[in-house]
């Protein structure tokens, strides 16, 4: 095998994985995956949505068992029977989907590995000392109350808790599965600082991300998975161009095009005196037909909440919404949908997906009325209405009857988008984190779809923690700080200027 001949035979890899296969029933998640990590180096694992990255990660940390294949840790053949053994061996996972316990406190969540790992019938729960916990949170820059239940934290803060928990462990191998998906730039930078420090101490890091900037900033080596097979196997990152990587991932080049945005028309969505909480300042927002307005803010700034309020998905303390001059009660999604306001929530799993239901049924949930007459579903009507959208968005695998829970994250996101795009008289589309955890091909597809919607005359609001995305898509960017608007930036504003404004620094 060619794979064996490459690499240095005398060398001890921190992690050496070969020939891994994993099937879920008829779905083949991994066919023949391999991975070789050097100590003290960051190894990027790339692949499009559904390529099998998360599955491979879960196998490495013992959360699931492979059908076949070998894993060696520091040269010793190892197959963890459970995460507990992996943690004990210093293999620390930070998961893509939050694995926190909402009812339990931050401290208890930080102690989850310790609680899981403590042996025997110990009377005391193995809580991490408070000072240690504080230090872990400080490392990621989170300053929240240790006794607060995690359900009271925002998504970004939860992500930080999850990261802090992983970074706090004693580790020989750190596995980061899309840790930055919900993080801002500052937070990402801070995370990278910690990761580099760990590397300097000899820890090997497996890093999954769909963001090339981050990969180039952090990684030393790279493996690319395609359809469960390693098509680039532990090559130095420096030896590969971005184009080569993308081709390896997708089989084809994707042009991250500079899109021409449509010309905005008259006002469609107007929000007056919108206050999220009684203490927040009022915000007035107008979005015009064909206009894409970006909402940008740091984690906890309230950008996502404000966007949700614009879609009627969140109750507000004060303020009114109107679509084309027609008043809309705030916080009433039913009326909002009837008025043509689409919404893609940030938390795909909790607020978007109908897990056990078919992809097609997920896509059609906002338009059931369209293909039913007299309360009866028109046979074939649903498929006729939605199938073109699923095709247009390139659902993969194209199996509309498969339960939504079985699709990869990017494709789940496409389902949520198609749900809204299919609304025939869509006037407003509010999208939160449009491409969180989505690969670059899907990201381009989703961006195209948003611009196209604007081209149809839809007023689009995009709230994202991914600044590149906001900058690429928006006619103008509204800066959100402390739950309300703090100025507006035109298209073409540089990233540095944007960052400054988000952090509250105004140009002199």
């Amino acid at each position: 095998m060619t794979r064996q001949t490459r690499g240095d035979p005398g060398k001890i890899w921190t992690l050496e994985v070969s020939g891994i296969a994993k099937n879920y029933g008829a779905t083949c998640a991994l066919r023949n995956a391999s991975l070789r990590l050097r100590p003290g180096k960051v190894h990027a694992l790339l692949g499009e949505n559904g390529a099998g990255k998360s599955t491979l990660v879960k196998i490495v940390v013992g959360a699931i068992q492979p059908d076949r294949g070998r894993i060696a840790l520091n040269g010793v053949p190892t197959l963890f029977a459970g995460v507990r053994q992996a943690i004990a061996a210093g293999v620390i996972p930070i998961y893509q989907h939050l694995s926190l316990f909402p009812h339990l406190s931050v401290l208890e969540n930080l102690s989850a590995f310790a609680i899981a790992g403590a042996a025997g019938l110990r009377a005391r729960p193995a809580l991490v000392p408070r000072a240690t916990a504080r230090a872990w949170l400080d490392a990621v820059g989170l300053g929240c109350d240790l006794d607060l239940p995690v359900e009271r934290l925002s998504v970004g803060e939860r992500q930080l808790v999850e990261i802090a928990r992983g970074l706090g462990q004693r580790c020989t191998l750190l596995v980061l599965d899309e840790p930055t998906a919900a993080l801002t730039h500052d937070e990402t930078d801070r995370l990278f600082g910690v990761v580099r420090r760990l590397c300097a101490e000899g820890t090997a890091v497996l890093f999954i991300s769909h963001k090339f900037d981050e990969i180039e900033a952090l990684a030393d080596d790279v493996t690319v998975l395609r359809d469960g097979v390693a098509v680039i196997d532990a090559e130095p990152l420096a030896s590969l161009s971005r184009a080569e990587l993308v081709r390896a991932m997708l089989g084809d080049m994707v042009e991250p095009g500079d899109r021409a945005l449509p010309q905005p028309g008259g006002p469609v969505l107007t929000a007056t005196g919108l206050r999220l909480g009684p203490a927040d300042a009022a915000a007035d927002i107008t979005v015009r037909a064909g206009e894409i307005v970006g909402l940008a803010g740091l984690v906890g700034s309230g950008a996502l909440e404000l966007a949700a309020a614009l879609a009627g998905a969140r109750p507000v303390a004060a303020g009114t919404l109107a679509v084309r001059g027609e008043a809309l009660p705030a916080g009433d999604r039913v009326r909002a949908v009837a008025a043509g306001v689409g919404y893609v929530p940030a938390d795909r799993h909790a607020e978007g997906l109908f897990g056990p239901l078919a992809a097609l049924q997920n896509a059609s949930s906002s338009t059931v009325a369209l293909f039913s007459r007299g309360g009866l579903l028109r046979p074939g009507g649903e498929a006729a209405a939605l199938m073109p959208w699923l095709r247009r968005l390139n659902l993969h695998p194209f199996q509309p009857e498969r339960p939504a829970a079985g699709f990869s994250g990017g494709n789940q996101q496409k389902l949520l988008l198609s749900r809204n795009l299919a609304v025939p008289d869509l006037r407003v589309l509010v999208v939160l984190e449009p491409t969180r955890g989505v690969d670059i091909a899907a990201r381009e597809t989703i961006h195209d779809a948003l611009v196209e919607a604007a081209g149809r005359g839809v007023a689009v609001v995009v709230a994202s923690s991914d600044l590149d995305e906001v900058m690429a898509l928006s006619h103008r960017i509204l800066v959100v700080r402390h739950g309300s608007l703090d100025g507006e930036l035109p298209r073409g504003t540089g990233r540095a200027a944007l960052m400054d404004r988000l952090a509250g620094r105004r140009a002199a």
Partner: protein
């Protein structure tokens, strides 16, 4: 006098409210209300004797509810507890006849065994809790009949010695009630202060994540159901102690009362939160309500309606408490 009492209890409640999580405020509130109403209408209700009486009676239901709480906290539930208590009561009685007083422990053991079987069905074989425990409910009832010659009670040879534990006030409460109290404290420590308890709460709070951080979900469920069975078994032992005999057909409908007590006691049906104290108070509330209404000469059928209404009202009360402004003041945190 009752007005002052009300005012004072309201003050106490406000103080307690600031420390107790919302769901755990419902049971105390209900209990105080019920006691106030009965005290106002029945002169002898507020006596030390009556309090001791209730303190002695509440424990069968309370132990069942505590057991139920462990399972509810993992997002399961167990409808076999009444049947398991009956079987345990019989086992305790038979073993006690054979080996004397220590034989009573056999009841707890039998309960634990039934619970572990439930846990294995749910945790290892992946059955839905209702189905698994419905199956064991029927099977356990059958087993009770089988070992008792079609449901004959098993009188204790040493009945008078044993029942003394159940009735004679040691100080204030009989020995059996003190024992139950100790068990409840043990359960509280288990939930609040132990590894096992923390893992149970984790499993209920986020079932998908718990395996990902290295907790063996199947084992957690095994233990949660095992504990539920153990406490049902202990309730059965208590029944035996108070009845001086093993009661094979006892406890139909107890499972629903136990679940009601656990829920009134703030155990979230969606898992993840539990408090033994609140559950015991919930059980006391149901017991006070039933006894109080009965003693007032209210038709038992009307009393049944009242309990139903109160169960629903306790749910509404929780919703109400949740919507109070104090709860929401911190709900959005910002960095």
């Amino acid at each position: 006098m009752s007005a002052r009492l009300l005012r004072r209890s309201a003050d106490g409640l406000r103080a307690a409210g600031s420390v107790l999580p919302v769901p755990f405020r419902v049971a105390p509130l209900c209990l105080i209300l019920a006691v106030a109403v009965f005290a106002a209408t029945a002169p002898r209700f507020l006596s030390l004797g009556n309090a001791a009486n209730i303190g002695a009676q509440v424990w069968v239901l309370a132990l069942l509810a505590i057991g139920q709480m462990f399972v509810l906290a993992t997002r399961g539930f167990d409808i076999s507890v009444g049947a398991v208590a009956a079987l345990s009561s019989v086992c305790a009685a038979m073993a006690c006849n054979g080996w004397g007083l220590p034989g009573l422990a056999a009841g707890a053991l039998a309960g634990l065994l039934c619970g572990l079987i439930n846990g294995a069905l749910v945790g290892m074989l992946g059955l839905q809790p209702v189905v698994a425990t419905l199956g064991s409910l029927i099977a356990v009832r059958g087993l009770s009949l089988l070992i008792t010659g079609d449901g004959q009670v098993v009188p204790l040879d040493a009945a008078s010695a044993v029942t003394r534990l159940g009735f004679e006030p040691m100080p204030v409460l009989p020995a059996a009630s003190w024992a139950a109290l100790v068990l409840a404290v043990g359960a509280a420590l288990l939930v609040g202060r132990s590894l096992a308890g923390r893992r149970i709460l984790m499993a209920g709070s986020n079932p998908e994540a718990v395996a990902l951080v290295g907790v063996d979900t199947r084992r957690v469920q095994l233990w949660a159901y095992g504990l539920c069975g153990l406490f049902a078994g202990l309730a059965g032992v208590l029944m035996t102690v108070r009845a001086g005999s093993g009661l094979p057909t006892e406890g139909a409908g107890m499972e629903l009362q136990a679940i009601a007590a656990a829920v009134i006691g703030g155990t979230a049906l969606s898992g993840g939160i539990a408090s033994v104290a609140a559950v015991v108070i919930g059980a006391a509330f149901i017991q006070v309500l039933l006894t109080g209404l009965n003693l007032q000469g209210v038709s038992p059928f009307v009393a049944q309606i009242a309990v139903g209404v109160v169960i629903i009202a306790s749910g509404l009360l929780e919703t109400l408490l949740r919507s109070l402004p104090s709860f929401h003041s911190q709900s959005r945190t910002r960095t």
